[in-house]
Point group: C2
Chain length 361, copies 2
């Protein structure tokens, strides 16, 4: 294709066109350094400023209290799956995990691999992860409670977070960070791979509260310890400079172009409402999750037959609507509505969906 398409991929995913154009514009000479942002030293004043501005912008957008520190690490959420238990659990400690989908289960598996005691506090596996469980059975003495705020593959999202009676929440927000304002106080640690709502693949946002930093275990490999990264402002080793730079541009776009997280949430709710309405208004598409657990970010549904699903995906692409195929483990279709996906893209998609029913329904 010679033109850009609407990108509904589940991650890596759409970026705001303004961000892409800005990257292109300054790619050969970053802020008058005479070097590309791909070539500048992470120890240069110009990068340190970009990093610090990005952190400050995130603090403003999320209204982070002073006792939270923002880190940019590598290795994705999958690396957090083992860093979290390695940093916080000692022999005999228990951690609570709630199993709401593929990624939540993987996080739990990694903690178990390390030999830790993991308590399954809740699960929706019984009905194919099609809902967010309500009756969570927390242990009395858990060091933390691990949740996955949005389940990318299944299409569910916690509408609100459960009360844990003071036990710190550790939450994987990879697929819904910054889609809406969140009260961060219950969270001891938030992590998110950037490649959905925040930027390109290759950088992981970690937000950690001081009391959690204080309880990090000693004698961990330096790269595994949150303390090493926090002590050096994410520069314990060479950070992924370019990815951090792009995250900075995305946050700038959220703050200055969109107008902050309340505005972002309004847009996201409108996008999701239009798409779910299109799904519900035809007796043709079959949404896969319970209404009250529906995700704002990943919308999963099936069509009457697998053949129709294939045609739907390929005809959509021909119309410039890309990435609507479901995850191989679930099948069907999945439309991701991350922050950078525009209302116009959703309008074009729902138009196509209506037309598809007319022809094939």
């Amino acid at each position: 294709m010679t033109e850009r398409i609407h990108n509904f991929n589940a991650g890596p995913a759409a970026l705001p066109i303004q961000v892409l154009e800005r990257i292109r514009e300054e790619l050969l000479n970053f802020q008058g350094t005479g070097m590309s942002v791909l070539e500048i030293s992470h120890r240069s004043a110009v990068f340190e400023r970009a990093l610090n501005e990005t952190v400050a912008r995130l603090r403003r957008l999320m209204r982070l209290p002073d006792d939270y520190q923002v880190l940019f690490l590598q290795g994705g959420a999958s690396t957090q799956f083992y860093m979290v238990p390695m940093n916080f659990l000692s022999a005999g400690d228990v951690a609570d995990y709630v199993d709401t989908g593929t990624w939540a289960a993987k996080a739990m598996k990694e903690a178990k691999l390390l030999g830790h005691q993991v308590h399954l506090a809740g699960s929706s596996e019984d009905r194919k992860y099609s809902y967010i469980p309500e009756n969570i059975n927390f242990s009395r003495d858990a060091v933390y409670v691990h949740l996955t705020s949005n389940n990318t593959i299944e299409g569910t999202q916690w509408p609100e977070f459960p009360s844990t009676g003071g036990v710190p929440l550790v939450v994987d927000m990879s697929s819904d960070a910054l889609c809406r304002p969140v009260e961060v106080k219950p969270f001891g640690l938030i992590y998110a791979g950037a490649q959905k709502n925040l930027g390109p693949a290759g950088v992981t946002l970690v937000i950690i509260r001081q009391d959690m930093l204080d309880r990090v275990k000693v004698n961990l490999p330096s790269m595994v310890s949150y303390q090493s990264h926090a002590a050096k402002n994410s520069m314990y080793n060479t950070p992924p400079v370019f990815a951090v730079y792009v995250v900075g541009l995305v946050l700038q776009w959220i703050e200055e172009t969109i107008g902050g997280l309340e505005a972002m949430e309004r847009i996201n709710r409108e996008k999701a409402a239009r798409l779910y309405e299109a799904l519900d208004s035809h007796n043709f598409y079959r949404p896969l999750v319970e209404k009250k657990s529906r995700s704002l970010m990943n919308v999963t549904f099936r069509l009457p037959t697998v053949d129709l699903e294939k045609e739907f995906v390929s005809e959509a692409l021909a119309e410039g609507l890309g990435g609507v195929k479901g995850h191989r483990s679930v099948g069907g279709c999945r439309v991701s509505l991350y922050n950078a996906v525009t209302l116009e893209a959703v309008r074009d998609l729902t138009g196509f969906m209506k037309e598809f029913v007319r022809r094939r329904g």
Copy 2:
């Protein structure tokens, strides 16, 4: 500055201008997908092809035998410092380390942190790491021997690798990978952060021999185990798509524009010869390392006074010669001559150096 400068940074570092221009050209629409390379799915056919082509190109360039696998991971060499001992050492095992500088010492420290038995087989710490040691005292039963092939901060490089009597070499090639052809057979594992000779910060090259893969310990966190990454062709989790893409372009440049590693070495030797000649021909600059241990990649030297060093660095930058300040732990000046640094850049630098001596010497 409105113009690009010559970039002698130690890493992140210069990239070939042809690579930067290509990135810019296709930034908004990668290979007709209608999406930026920053937005494409790592599971897309177009990315899998790019990844496989990059691996194939590396295999050709390095003439890798069939029993070596190429991985692209995250976390830099610092992550390899703990992955290596975690993957290969069990209780009671010994690993040999040779301490030739700051990074070699850090690699050793991380193995010790994990409680492993580390044998210091050689060191040049006695004379400020100004040489590569010759009499290495290998242990009888080491699982591996760890070396740092080029010492970025100090400016030394192994001219050839020591014979270990069959014990696999594990080598950090972060700052000299692909600067010259290397006979890979003695290596059980090679790793290199990309941000010097291979691409941008944010991706780590790992080359691992099958017998090493076979001896990886069980019950490691999935992201720590080389087996997980090898089994999934570097796609166990979302890889740093953009960084891998840029590495692919850099390898293409080495193969097609430069003409392979023999040609790359000739150019690198000429660049280094010109610079060392400029240092040696004036009784003014004081190279910091022994002649036979001199690095092709990082050239370290002092000037008669710290004030002159400061003037040298700032006047060089005013002439469009950036990044010549030494590492804070060594002081003085350091000029990095990575693959993407041109002969023209070195000519301009040596011209400036001559002129600087004329005015200040």
